[in-house]
Amino acid sequence: MLSLNKVSKVFDAGTVNEKYAVKNLSAAFAKGDFVTIIGSNGAGKSSILNLIAGVYFPEEGTITLDGADITRTPEYRRADRISRVFQDPMVGTASDMWLEENLALAYRRGKRRGLRWGITETEREFFIEKLKPLGLGLEKRLSVKTGLLSGGQRQALTLLMASFNNPSLLLLDEHTAALDPGTAGKVLELTEQIVAENELTTLMVTHNMKDAIAYGNRLIMLSAGNILLDISGEEKQHLTVTDLMQRFADLSGEELDNDELLLTS
């Protein structure tokens, strides 16, 4: 469904700071996959998501989604099929617009925007129905500016927005990293719920090994811009943090830095 073919992304090419964020990476993802992506800082986790989302384009290689080549499709045009939740809770919503306006913007993702009114009464009712299960009381605060919400509330809202219009792909870029552990846990629960409900194909980047093991049906560990480990199915179900660290050490010949990857939540 989504495939990356020999994709490379280099930053500061031709300077002393030249760095391959992603190097000659190939991967294919099936419909319905929930893939967790793990790796230390600079391994290329966010770069891969950004390449898939179209924030920037690769120097080499191609990216296809649902059979169509999207390698150079502008970011805003991919958004009809790819939805995202970011690490920084501020990024997911327009903070000086109302909650319902944010939802209405997301509801129109991939549709033509014209001179009709920006939000309708039926949509408002639909939003209320969708907000209730979040259990945050947001359904009573439709005209609050999202800038006034907490980080956890904003991430929950962004997740809901990302689930609208059956996207082919949901990209989660360390979307719980900026939250306190309790809130992070709740947002992860909600993530699983929304992914299951809408049967979303999901790529979730995380810093947290435990989460990477606990969620999804496939785990990918990145190192130096390429895939080091790709574990799925039964093997993933029995995986432990110790296993993962051992396999990393065997493959890369170095110890995994415990400070960079969180072992516990």
Binding site: E75, G92, K111, W117
Partner: protein, 304 residues
């Protein structure tokens, strides 16, 4: 030369009429400065472009209303140019505005064919020869602009422009073409500004090439004064954006009343721009100065 209340009061209606017309311009600037978060300096020249188009067409026998529509169209084009310089050619925001502003100086001269055009003995829509009528017509225009802008920024495309200004990353992630929206918003902003320019040229009975210098400063002063006065209503109102627009017109009125008062009190006309710049500098720095002061209080409190 001292301040005379009587002559100040006599000047008030004129100041209010002027304030209303410049308020329309300030509403145009709200689109770039407040909605898009973009300091667009094009307006310093597009105001004059509107005036030049209107004055030239009226002298050529075109009706004042039609000439205003042409001014609006000219402003839309000017804003589009700035927008394209910024989005298609990736020139920084301020510089894009400055480039268009400079280019428009020559274009404005071309339009008029000379540095100034006077509108004597012609039928005008709005003129200082009849100030009550000017206030009425200006008021109708201002209210129409408020209504149209309020409706436009409530539409799907209007909401997507607001999202573009509020959070570009989010907007793109929601499938919004942010580049297109920026061009559109700058176009609308300068269109309204040029419309105001056309009204100003008719009101004062002439257009000269230096008209519009400092427009952005007058606009910011009006917007900030208005927001300060109406801040609570803007925060709580259900039609917050309409109130914000109205507040800019009100702010422009206050601004021109203050200018009239200081001129009456003996300020030299040629020092007016220095005075305006100083006022705006102080007002713009107020939020920062407030936090600095708060920080001091906290630091002082710590040792105890």
């Amino acid at each position: 030369m001292g301040f005379s209340l009587g002559s100040f009061l006599r000047s008030c209606p004129g100041a209010i009429a002027q304030g209303i017309i410049y308020g329309i311009m300030a509403m145009g600037v709200i689109v770039s400065y407040r909605i898009l978060n973009y300091s667009d300096l094009t307006v310093d020249s597009s105001l004059c472009t509107g005036g030049a188009v209107t004055a030239t067409l009226i002298t050529a026998g075109v009706s004042p209303v039609v000439s205003l529509m042409c001014a609006l169209a000219a402003g839309l084009v000017a804003g589009t140019v700035t927008g394209l310089l910024h989005t298609a050619l990736k020139i920084p925001a301020i510089l894009s505005g400055i480039l268009t502003q400079l280019a428009l100086y020559s274009i404005n001269l071309r339009i008029m064919g000379k540095p100034n055009v006077t509108l004597l003995n012609t039928e005008l829509l709005i003129s200082l020869r009849n100030i009550p009528r000017a206030i009425l017509i200006g008021g109708i225009f201002a209210l129409s602009v408020i209504a149209v802008m309020y409706l436009f920024f409530g539409t799907e495309i209007g909401c997507s422009i607001r999202a573009t200004g509020s959070n570009e990353k989010m907007a793109r992630a929601q499938g919004i073409n942010t580049s297109f929206n920026k061009v559109l918003a700058l176009s609308v902003s300068n269109g309204i500004t040029a419309l105001a320019g056309g009204l100003i040229a008719q009101y004062q009975g002439y257009c000269d090439i230096n008209m519009g210098r400092g427009t952005i400063v007058i606009a910011l002063a009006s917007i900030i004064i208005g927001e300060a006065i109406f801040s609570r209503v803007i925060e709580t109102s259900k039609v917050s954006f309409a109130v914000r627009l109205f507040s800019a017109v009100f702010g422009a009125g206050v601004y021109y009343l203050v200018i009239t008062a200081v001129l009456q009190a003996g300020l030299n006309t040629s020092d007016l721009k220095l005075f305006s710049a100083a006022v705006v500098a102080v007002v713009l720095s107020l939020p920062h100065l407030k936090t600095v002061k708060k920080g001091k209080v906290r630091n002082d409190a710590k040792p105890e």
